[in-house]
C-alpha cells in the first residue's frame, strides 16, 4: 500500500497524482503507438474502430455518465459529424479543418437540440433525443441534393497536405491521436468548474441551483461538448468506412454507444475506453470460439447481439460500475494484498444512516 504525501494544492489539480501514474500512462500511449509494428492490418483496423468508438463513447459519457442526462440519440451527432466531414472534404476543404468543423457542426446541433429538450428530464429526455435521431436520419435520407439520400456518399481517405491516411496503420495513428486529445480535453473539463457543475447536476439539481449553477445553461454546454466529441468520432468513422449512408446511423448505433458506457462503467473516463474495447472485442472472441461451441448455440442467428444484451444485463446486475469498477477492485486487491476484504467496496450507508434521517 502506498501513501501519497501531498504538500501542495497543485498536486491535487495535476492530471497525474504521482510520477509513476504519469509513467504508466505515458508507457500505455507509447505502447499503443507501437502496436501496429507487431500486428497485421486486420487487427489495426479493429484498433481504429476501438479508437473511434471510444471517442464517441467519451462524448456520450460526459452527457450520460457525468451530467446524468441519458441520450439515446447520439447516432444523430455521429451522423452529423460524418456527413459534415464528408461534404466538406468533398468540396475540397482540407481534412485538418473539416475534422474540427464536423465536431463544431455536431456541437451546434447539440446546442440547438439541447435548448428545448433539456427542459425535460429522465425518460422524457431520452425519448426526445431518440426522436431527434429519427429526424436526423430522415433528413439525411431526404436531403438528396446535399447527402445523396439513400444512395449514400463516398468519402475519401483523409489527408494532411500530401500525407494520406490511406493505410490501416496510418489511420490508426490518426484515430489514436484524436482519442488521446479527446480524453485529455474531457479530463480537463472534468477537473474544472464546468465539469464539477455537470456532476453536481447529476447528483442533485436542487443543490446545484443553490450553488448558482444555471441548469439550462450547463446542461446545454454538456450537450454541446458531448455532441462535439461524438461528431469528431463520426467524421473519422465516415473516412474510415469510405462510404456512408443513413443506414449506418440507426437507433441501434445509439443504443450501442449507451451499452458501451454502461459496460465500461458510467461516470468514468476509463469506462468509455473499456466499453469500446469490449464492444469491438466481443464479436472477435465469439468468432474465435465458435468452433468450440455446441452446434445448437453456434448456428443461432443473432448470437452476437444476444450475447451483448446478456452482458449488459449481467453487468447491471452484478457490477453496476462496469469494467472500470472491476478494474478498481482488482487493482485494490493487489495494492492491499493479502489484506483485501470483499466488502471494501460495499456502501457503509446501510448501517450509518439508521435513526438519523
Amino acid at each position: 500500500m502506498r501513501y501519497v504525501m501531498k504538500k501542495k494544492y497543485i498536486e491535487d489539480i495535476r492530471l497525474f497524482t504521482h510520477t509513476s501514474t504519469f509513467f504508466w500512462y505515458a508507457a500505455l500511449v507509447v505502447g499503443c503507438f507501437l502496436l501496429p509494428l507487431v500486428c497485421d492490418d486486420y487487427i489495426a483496423s479493429l484498433l481504429v474502430f476501438v479508437c473511434i468508438y471510444a471517442t464517441a463513447a467519451m462524448g456520450l459519457m460526459l452527457l450520460a455518465g457525468f451530467t446524468g442526462q441519458v441520450s439515446i440519440g447520439h447516432a444523430a451527432f455521429f451522423a452529423i459529424g460524418a456527413y459534415a466531414s464528408a461534404i466538406l472534404t468533398g468540396k475540397g476543404v482540407p481534412f485538418l479543418l473539416a475534422l474540427p468543423a464536423a465536431g463544431l457542426v455536431a456541437g451546434l446541433a447539440g446546442m440547438v437540440i439541447g435548448l428545448p429538450v433539456l427542459r425535460l428530464s429522465g425518460l422524457y429526455l431520452s425519448v426526445a433525443t431518440m426522436g431527434f435521431a429519427f429526424i436526423i436520419e430522415e433528413v439525411l435520407a431526404r436531403w438528396e441534393s446535399l447527402t445523396r439520400g439513400n444512395l449514400g456518399m463516398f468519402v475519401d481517405p483523409p489527408s494532411i497536405g500530401s500525407f494520406h491516411f490511406d493505410t490501416e496503420t496510418r489511420f490508426y495513428y490518426l484515430a489514436l491521436s484524436v482519442l488521446v486529445l479527446t480524453l485529455l480535453g474531457s479530463k480537463n473539463i472534468l477537473r474544472s468548474p464546468t465539469g464539477r457543475a455537470m456532476i453536481a447536476i447529476r447528483d442533485s439539481e436542487v443543490a446545484a441551483q443553490a450553488m448558482g449553477i444555471d441548469l439550462v445553461r450547463f446542461k446545454t454546454i454538456a450537450f454541446a461538448v458531448s455532441a462535439f466529441f461524438t461528431g469528431i468520432a463520426g467524421s473519422l468513422y465516415g473516412h474510415k468506412l469510405s462510404f456512408i449512408s443513413p443506414e449506418s446511423f440507426t437507433l441501434l448505433v445509439s443504443i450501442e454507444f449507451l451499452a458501451m458506457i454502461i459496460i465500461g462503467g458510467l461516470g468514468s473516463i476509463h469506462g468509455a475506453v473499456f466499453g469500446s474495447i469490449f464492444y469491438i472485442l466481443l464479436p472477435q472472441v465469439i468468432i474465435m470460439t465458435k468452433d468450440y461451441m455446441p452446434r445448437l448455440v453456434r448456428d443461432q442467428t443473432g448470437l452476437e447481439s444476444g450475447l451483448f444484451g446478456l452482458m449488459i444485463v449481467l453487468f447491471i446486475l452484478f457490477e453496476p460500475l462496469g469494467i472500470y469498477g472491476r478494474w478498481l477492485k482488482i487493482k485494490y486487491y493487489f495494492e492491499t494484498f493479502p489484506l483485501y476484504k470483499k466488502d471494501t467496496f460495499k456502501k457503509e450507508k446501510s448501517y450509518q444512516k439508521v435513526e438519523r434521517r
Partner: protein, 259 residues
C-alpha cells in the same frame, strides 16, 4: 432600508395557505431565527427565497433589490447561500469537490479555456482550493477531505454542507435546521461556528431552527410563525416569552385544562 426584507409574502398550495402576508426584516450582520411548530411554513420561506417556489404575492428584497422574480441560480449568484434540512450534498463527490462547487459563482473560466486547462484556469483552481482549505480548517474537516459524501455520517455531512455554503463567501446565509440530527456536542460546536461566522466573516444569518436552547443562545432577533402567519417578532427574549408563541408551541391553556 434593512439588509434583507420579506414584504407581505404569501403562497398557497392548492387549498393550503402555506404563508399568509408574512413580513420580516433582517439587519446586516445579525443572526435572525425563524421558529414555529411543524408545518408552520418556515422551510417554505427558504424555498421561496431560493425561487424553488413562486410567491403568489409579496417580494423579497436584498439591499433593496427585488429578488423574487429572478431565476433560481441568480439567487446564489447574488450571494445568498443555503443549507438544507435533510442535507442536499453531491453524494458521489468528495468533500473537497463539494466545497469547490461553492466557488462556482466566482469562476472566471469558460468551457473553452477549461478544455485546454490554460494557466488562468489553473490559477483559479488553486485559488478556489486555497479558499476551500480555509473553510476545511475552520470547520475541522481535514480528516474527511478526500472521502465521498455517501460514506460520511450525517453529522459530518451537515458540517460539509455548512462548509459548502461558506465557500461561496455569501453575504446572506440561510440555515435550515442546522442542528437537527446532530449530537449534543456537535450542536455546541455549531453554536460556536455560527457565532464565528457572524463575527469573523461578517455574514448575515437567517436560520430556521427547532432547538430552542440553540435559538436562545445565538439569535439576535426572532420571527415566530404558525400556520403560515407571523405571530410575533422582535428580540429573542421577547418573542420566546410572547403568549401567542407559547400557545402555538404548547397549545391553549384552556384547551389543556378542558382535557
Amino acid at each position: 432600508m434593512s439588509f434583507f426584507e420579506a414584504e407581505d409574502i404569501s403562497i398557497r398550495f392548492g387549498g393550503v395557505q402555506a404563508l399568509h402576508r408574512v413580513s420580516f426584516a433582517v439587519n446586516r450582520g445579525e443572526v435572525f431565527s425563524i421558529i414555529g411548530p411543524n408545518g408552520a411554513g418556515k422551510t417554505t420561506i427558504f424555498n421561496c427565497i431560493n425561487r424553488y417556489y413562486d410567491l403568489d404575492e409579496g417580494a423579497f428584497r436584498l439591499e433593496g433589490r427585488d429578488i423574487s422574480k429572478v431565476r433560481p441560480h441568480v439567487v446564489a449568484d447574488l450571494g445568498i447561500a443555503r443549507t438544507f434540512q435533510n442535507v442536499e450534498l453531491f453524494n458521489k463527490m468528495s468533500v473537497i469537490d463539494n466545497l469547490l462547487l461553492g466557488r462556482h459563482r466566482r469562476r472566471r473560466s469558460n468551457v473553452l479555456t477549461e478544455l485546454l486547462f490554460t494557466g488562468s484556469v489553473r490559477d483559479q483552481e488553486l485559488e478556489s482550493r486555497r479558499k476551500a482549505e480555509e473553510i476545511i480548517d475552520f470547520l475541522d474537516l481535514q480528516a474527511h477531505r478526500d472521502q465521498l459524501i455517501e460514506n460520511l455520517p450525517f453529522g459530518i455531512q451537515k458540517t460539509v454542507e455548512l462548509g459548502r455554503a461558506l465557500t461561496m463567501e455569501p453575504v446572506l446565509l440561510l440555515l435550515d435546521e442546522p442542528s437537527s440530527g446532530m449530537t449534543l456536542e456537535e450542536t455546541e460546536e455549531l453554536a460556536f461556528w455560527i457565532t464565528d461566522i457572524k463575527a469573523e466573516f461578517g455574514v448575515t444569518i437567517l436560520m430556521v431552527e427547532h432547538n430552542m436552547g440553540f435559538v436562545r443562545e445565538i439569535s439576535d432577533r426572532i420571527l415566530a410563525v404558525s400556520f403560515g402567519e407571523a405571530i410575533a417578532s422582535g428580540s429573542t427574549r421577547d418573542v420566546l416569552a410572547h403568549p401567542d408563541v407559547l400557545k402555538a408551541y404548547l397549545g391553549d391553556e384552556d384547551a389543556f385544562a378542558q382535557g
